[in-house]
């Protein structure tokens, strides 16, 4: 068993035990006319702070705070525990007051985005491996620019050596659009092959008008296009994993803010 899997197992066992204990404790407290929401509430608050620390951990990579994989595992497992405990704490899916409803909405959105993130975290690395191309997301623009330069160089060379502008005109009118930036991102994210189909369609369409020399240059351009297609795929799926955080983190911050307000009100007005 891999160390990460072992960590997952330990975290799941710990979270399950904690959940069972908290439910049992709430039940016993309620039976004795106590207020179970105090324990579950502060446990929830602690869990939320712990989950938020994951973001800080990523910024403090220089400090040895444990492997990021362990943190990811803990974030996923205890996030699930937080979601379950939320219902134990509130006893309802939909609270009454406006600010508590806002808190619930944000919490649900954070939870949903968290589940989505966990799914992406499980799926995207495998898909990137299957892509066969390892690339740093931030370097995608540079790589595309280089491929575009190389494609244009090939087109210029073809025009110069074959004395035909057929390929050059076709590139400038059609293929230049494709090499300008990442294309078919949605298709790539959902695993469709629109990019590959586009390359095949366009190269097949022009090939019949080219002689053998020009077809050789077209083959080079087609190879570059396929490389770009894989870069586009990496850009799409990796980018989604980054853009997802634009929702998850601010929503989590909103939950933390309203949680603080909730704690203040509970202490001032009730406890």
């Amino acid at each position: 068993m891999r160390a990460v899997h072992r960590a997952y197992l330990i975290f799941w066992l710990a979270a399950g035990a904690a959940f069972i204990f908290l439910v049992w404790n709430s039940w016993q407290t309620w039976l004795q006319n106590g207020e179970p929401a105090i324990v579950t509430g502060y446990t929830l608050a602690g869990l939320m702070v712990f989950l938020a620390l994951f973001n800080s951990r990523k910024k403090l990579s220089m400090i040895p705070l444990g492997r990021a994989a362990y943190w990811t595992a803990a974030h996923a497992v205890f996030g699930t525990l937080t979601l379950a405990l939320f219902f134990v704490h509130t006893g309802t899916f939909w609270p009454g007051g406006a600010y508590e409803q806002l808190l619930a909405i944000l919490f649900y959105l954070v939870s949903i985005s968290g589940i989505l993130g966990y799914w992406m975290q499980k799926v995207i690395p495998r898909r990137l491996t299957e892509n066969g191309l390892e690339i740093i997301w931030e370097r995608v623009p540079n790589e595309i620019a280089q491929i575009r330069e190389q494609a244009e160089t090939i087109v210029e060379e073809a025009a110069e050596k074959t004395a035909s502008d057929t390929l050059a005109r076709y590139y400038s009118e059609t293929l230049a659009w494709y090499f300008r930036r990442p294309r078919f991102l949605v298709s790539h994210f959902f695993g469709f092959q629109s990019g590959r189909a586009y390359i095949r369609r366009e190269t097949t369409a022009i090939a019949r008008y080219l002689d053998d020399d020009e077809r050789g240059y077209l083959k080079q351009i087609e190879d570059l296009a396929h490389i770009k297609n894989r870069i586009d795929f990496a850009y799409a799926v990796n980018g989604m994993a980054k853009i997802w955080l634009l929702f998850h983190v601010p929503l989590a911050v909103g939950v933390l803010m309203l949680m603080i307000w909730h704690i203040i009100l509970v202490h001032v007005y009730l406890l």
Partner: protein, 668 residues
């Protein structure tokens, strides 16, 4: 390029800075990014290919190898790079964008909280109140008008609207929300003890909250859960956590009701159902049913019977008016204690003497002077009445003891009417309210009767009395009840039942105590005044203001019908059960008469708990025919109340009266 396996070589690759807040503007538009990238402050760092280095008096190119190495032209003479580019507009990185959005969310939430932070009561008087950043949810329907009061939220939450310091103090100190509940709600016992009662620890499990546990309203009652929310949810498991007898289900392991269910103590009115149904009703040759007397329209915990006039008067009125109260009468005396001349002076002539003198004045010389009835007191007299003996402080059958006091009293009555008697009654121990006891008594009637008897003649009433009230006959002055619920009769009973205890408490002599007992026994006897206690129970109760003082015990005559309240935590509604069984047809499904019970004997003493019901006990099996698993509800709260005698304080009623005109949902 991507296909280059050595592309991350330091000579080919620039250093990536993923935590940098800005990214190259050219890269963002998928142009070729410059090797330098943006500066930390967000400006373009790629306007030149390098930053030349001055080595001695020469400028040297410092272009990175990955960008092509030192250029051929080298730096300009002024030390600037020879390869100038137009600047790009760097854009925030995703990380910076995330920080900005997060900050925006924080600002939005803080602004929203502050914008909807309302403390004035008026702010909570409309539907918009639910949008308040303080409102955790709508109040329940019963409490939904609280915000209409001038106190508003402070009715329950003290720190509301009292500033930051009050909030800070409230944050670190315990709140007492539950205390405010009892400004409106009241109970029959301590508000902060389980069930509003004081229990012995034996009633609790060893590991349960002890009998000394202090409860708080908010332990069970949680507000702000919606207008229709049940703010007092309680489950059987909570009952089981404290009670020693663990009940998993009523039909399964709830104890039997016992042989005295539903009542272990007698009611206020003695009504022998068995005797009436078996003996009295058959004489009328009509078939009676339960609902002829019991009003099923008012069915609740009880099915109350109709009034005396509705149910009893046709048979029992004569039994009331036939039993007068004897106030005074001609005493049995062997010696005449009265001075004839003094009596004549006070009372004047007797009717016989007037008749004799009239005859003589008319010329009838044969008229004979009336002779006094020498043995009037021996022949017509009787022991003095119980109240007279008590008032004089003498035994009612000791003529040596009472002759002289009676003589003096009657003489005083002849002189002053009822006043001497009123004075003596007022002087009795206890609380004899002569104004009530002798209400309607005419002093002249009393004086004339006394005069007649002192002159050894029968009192002759000027007219036949009718309709009850105070009346004098030949030898007695009596009170005849005017009917049921006669106020004078009630007053005599109310005083007499406690007279012995009061006399003992006052340290009165034996004769007075014995006289008080005689008066009480005379009234409570079968032939007693109005026959009241034939039906109305006389019960010993204990309270802090008992007639006997220390013991706190006193007797009360239970005049009105009151439901037996010996199971304060029980609740039951006859209504749906009657509808289910059919009104008046199947009452005996539960209430089976018990002809062998000593029901009447239960009313011959003052202990309400020494009681045999006229019905067989209601068995648990009667209920479990329906109230069982998979049929009808059988949880604890179906039949049991948690609180003892829940009610409202009078102050709440005042608050309701002074409630301002409402704009709320239920306040109109």
């Amino acid at each position: 390029m991507i296909t280059d396996q050595d592309r991350f070589s330091y000579q080919k690759s620039t250093y990536e800075r993923p935590t940098f807040p800005y990214v190259c503007g050219r890269a963002c538009s998928f142009g070729k990014p410059c090797p330098n990238g943006p500066n930390f402050n967000g400006s373009c760092g790629g306007t030149t290919e390098c930053t030349p280095y001055r080595n001695g008096d020469r400028w040297e190119c410092r272009r990175a190898t990955s960008a092509g190495g030192p250029c051929a032209d080298g730096p300009l003479p002024d030390g600037t790079c020879c390869m100038q580019h137009p600047p790009c507009t760097p854009r925030p990185s995703l990380r910076r964008l995330r920080q900005r959005i997060s900050l925006l969310v924080v600002v939005f939430i803080v602004a929203a909280i502050l914008a909807f932070l309302q403390f004035r009561p008026e702010a909570f008087q409309t539907d918009v109140a639910q949008a308040s950043s303080l409102m955790p949810g709508p109040l329940s329907g019963a409490h939904s008008n609280f915000a209409l009061d001038e106190k508003g939220c402070t009715a329950c939450h003290e720190a509301h609207g009292k500033g930051v310091l009050a909030w800070a103090e409230a944050f670190v100190t315990s709140q007492s929300v539950g205390e405010s509940c009892t400004s409106c709600h009241a109970f029959g016992g301590p508000k902060n003890s389980p069930h509003n009662a004081t229990f012995t620890t034996a009633a609790f499990k060893a590991d349960s909250p002890s009998a000394q546990m202090q409860t708080d309203c908010v332990m069970c009652h949680t507000e702000h859960k919606g207008e229709d929310a049940n703010i007092a949810p309680m489950k059987d498991a909570q009952c089981n956590s404290c009670h020693q007898a663990t009940i998993s289900g009523f039909s399964k392991d709830h104890p039997d009701f016992g042989d005295r269910y539903p009542h272990a103590s007698r009611g206020a009115i003695q009504f022998n159902h068995v005797k009436h149904f078996n003996e009295h009703f058959p004489k009328e040759n009509v078939t009676r049913t339960c609902v002829e007397c019991h009003d099923t329209k008012r069915a609740g915990l009880t099915v109350p019977a109709g009034s005396f006039e509705q149910n009893c008067a046709s048979c029992h009125t004569d039994g009331i008016v036939d039993r007068p109260f004897y106030l005074i009468g001609v005493p049995f005396m062997e010696e005449d204690p009265f001075d004839a001349e003094a009596v004549a002076e006070v009372c004047g002539l007797t009717p016989d003497q007037i008749e004799y003198l009239q005859a003589r004045a008319d010329g009838d010389k044969d008229a004979e002077a009336p002779e006094p009835y020498e043995f009037f007191y021996e022949d017509e007299g009787d022991n003095i009445t119980a109240i007279l003996a008590l008032a004089l402080g003498v035994p009612n059958d000791d003529l040596d003891a009472y002759t002289t006091p009676v003589g003096e009293l009657y003489m005083e009555i002849a002189e002053g009417g009822a006043t001497p008697l009123v004075d003596r009654i007022e002087a009795l121990p206890g609380e004899p309210r002569a104004a009530e006891l002798l209400r309607g008594l005419d002093g002249e009637l009393l004086r004339r009767a006394a005069c007649a008897w002192m002159q050894k003649t029968y009192y002759e009433a000027p007219s036949e009395s009718a309709g009850g009230g105070w009346t004098a006959s030949d030898l007695t002055v009596t009170y005849v009840p005017t009917g049921h619920a006669d106020p004078v009769a009630r007053a005599w009973f109310n005083y007499a039942v406690n007279a012995p205890l009061a006399a003992e408490a006052a340290g009165a002599g034996e004769d007075v105590v014995a006289g008080a007992e005689a008066l009480r026994d005379a009234l409570l006897a079968d032939s007693g005044f109005g026959n009241c206690t034939k039906c109305h129970a006389v019960t010993e109760v204990t309270d802090s203001e008992g007639a006997s003082g220390d013991s706190g015990k006193r007797l009360v005559v239970e005049w009105g019908f009151q439901p037996v309240d010996d199971r304060p935590y029980m609740k039951y509604d006859h209504g749906p059960h009657i509808n289910l069984l059919g009104p008046g047809t199947l009452c005996t499904t539960c209430h089976k008469p018990n002809p062998n019970a000593e029901y009447a004997a239960s009313f011959t003493h003052f202990d309400a708990n020494d009681y045999q019901a006229g019905f067989q006990p209601v068995a648990k099996q009667t209920c479990t025919e329906c109230h069982t698993r998979a049929k009808v509800r059988q949880d604890c709260l179906l039949c049991h109340e948690y609180h003892l005698e829940p009610k409202f304080n009078e102050s709440m009623m005042g608050a309701q009266v002074h409630q301002p005109e409402s704009t709320g949902k239920d306040g109109g």
